[in-house]
């Protein structure tokens, strides 16, 4: 018998602090597998956000920086400009990327920075305990939209993949999910493609991953996975929104 599933080398063996069933763990593994398979671990520099994945620097087995909330793209920009052959990956939540970090992510894309952004869209603020995110769905109850999100009070959920696909500097923009085995596979394909395009210098690449926050959604992990399919995907359609042709 041969081993078909085990811990990738690009992860340390520290235990994840995430809540039971939190999909941050799945996405961490996917990233690590991509770097392993592309043999990029020693070239990789990861920028961790402020969010539940703030401690990712303990889990990623390559150089990492912990960024100020929302600024990962600016940090990645500077490093990539100074070390153009390295592989820059930012890992950001929806508060980090779509709220406080909106300016940085859009400008990194306009500047066509050769970096790869992993955008974890779990429709809520996890780390701080369940406040509304820019991606929180209409009607969704959070601690800062206690009566459910409404257009009048809170406006519309941000569709970041669609928005960033508008940017001429974006080489690859894709939205995936990790709510089914098939989607996990697709997510890995997309991320691998993004990283490869970064290393070819084609420009800004981002994969938005629809994820879960069972704890703050107040659901079991399995229910949360179903909620992604039933409520998130209908509003946040999956697929590739921008694929830049080479040359």
């Amino acid at each position: 018998m041969k081993v078909v599933a085990k811990r990738p080398e690009s992860l340390t063996d520290a235990r994840f602090h995430y809540c039971p069933g939190c999909t941050h763990g799945i996405v961490h593994r996917i990233l690590a597998e991509c770097l392993d398979e592309l043999n990029l671990r020693e070239k990789a520099i990861g920028i961790c956000p402020v969010g539940c994945s703030v401690l990712a620097y303990d889990y990623f087995n390559f150089d990492t920086l912990e960024a100020a909330h929302g600024r990962a793209p600016a940090i990645a920009t500077a490093i990539k400009r100074l070390l153009p052959d390295r592989c820059l990956v930012t890992y950001q939540g929806d508060g980090d990327l779509a709220s406080i970090g909106m300016g940085e992510i859009i400008h990194a894309s306009l500047r066509a920075e050769n970096i790869t952004v992993i955008f974890i869209n779990n429709a809520i603020y996890g780390m701080t305990g369940g406040q509304m995110a820019p991606t929180t769905l209409l009607g969704q109850v959070t601690t800062t939209s206690p009566y459910g999100r409404t257009v009048e009070a809170n406006g519309y959920p941000a569709k970041m993949a669609e928005l960033l696909a508008q940017s001429e500097g974006a080489a690859y923009v894709c939205r995936t999910a990790v709510n089914t085995p098939a989607n996990v596979t697709r997510t890995k394909k997309a991320l691998k493609k993004a990283i490869q395009m970064q290393m070819k210098g084609l420009g800004f690449t981002m994969v938005e991953v629809l994820s879960t926050c069972p704890t703050n959604w107040g659901m079991s992990p399995v229910e949360a996975m179903k909620w992604v399919g039933d409520h998130m995907i209908p509003y946040y359609p999956l697929g590739e929104f921008k694929v830049k042709e080479e040359g």
Binding site: C19, M127, T128, G129, T215
Partner: protein
């Protein structure tokens, strides 16, 4: 004199709620009180604890290194806090979850198997109220009768069923303390 009691256990054990109940009861019976939760990281899980200070006069310090009493709901909490309880202080232990007794000999130790008792009475989530009943019966930090009076106040807004279940659990703890300790 200020009485300070520490409640400590796992996240889900209703430890903060115990402290809150006691605080409400103490306040309702005209005492001064402060409730300070342990200040967990921005992440979930781990151990939880809170410190309740009760006094007739104004409360000077709501914090202390050495509480007079400690309600210990799980093993790690005992390991962590045993040495910090005041000399000759009181330690109440949830014996269903703690497999050892304190090493210190100066402490008064009372063990209550609250999880078993809760399971028995078919209300697993009532374990913390059982412990509280036993605690008040033993210490009269607040009189049991007073505490019972204030149930409606304290659980204002909660369903009758739940209040009733809690009262039952609380009384079970009082009962246990009266008869079996």
């Amino acid at each position: 004199m200020e009485k300070q009691v520490l409640f400590a256990g796992f996240g889900g054990q209703g430890v903060l709620a115990m402290g809150l109940f006691l605080s409400h009861a103490a306040m309702s019976s005209g005492k001064n009180v402060s409730w300070v939760p342990s200040y967990g990281a921005e992440m979930r899980g781990g151990t939880a604890n809170c410190l309740v200070t009760i006094a007739e006069e104004e409360i000077s310090s709501p914090l202390t290194e050495n509480p007079l009493m400690a309600i210990i709901m799980n093993r790690p909490s005992l390991d962590k806090f045993e040495k910090r309880v005041k000399p000759n202080g009181l330690v109440m232990i949830n014996s269903s979850m703690v497999d050892r007794t304190p090493d210190r000999t100066d402490l008064e130790v009372l063990a209550v198997p609250v999880n078993e008792l809760a399971e028995e009475m078919g209300n697993p989530r009532g374990a913390n109220m059982i412990m509280l009943g036993a605690y008040l019966e033993k210490t009269s930090v607040v009189q049991v009768e007073e505490a019972l009076e204030y149930f409606p106040v304290i659980f204002k807004g909660k369903s009758e069923r739940l209040i009733e279940a809690n009262r039952k659990a609380f009384m079970a703890g009082v009962e246990y303390a009266r008869t079996r300790m």
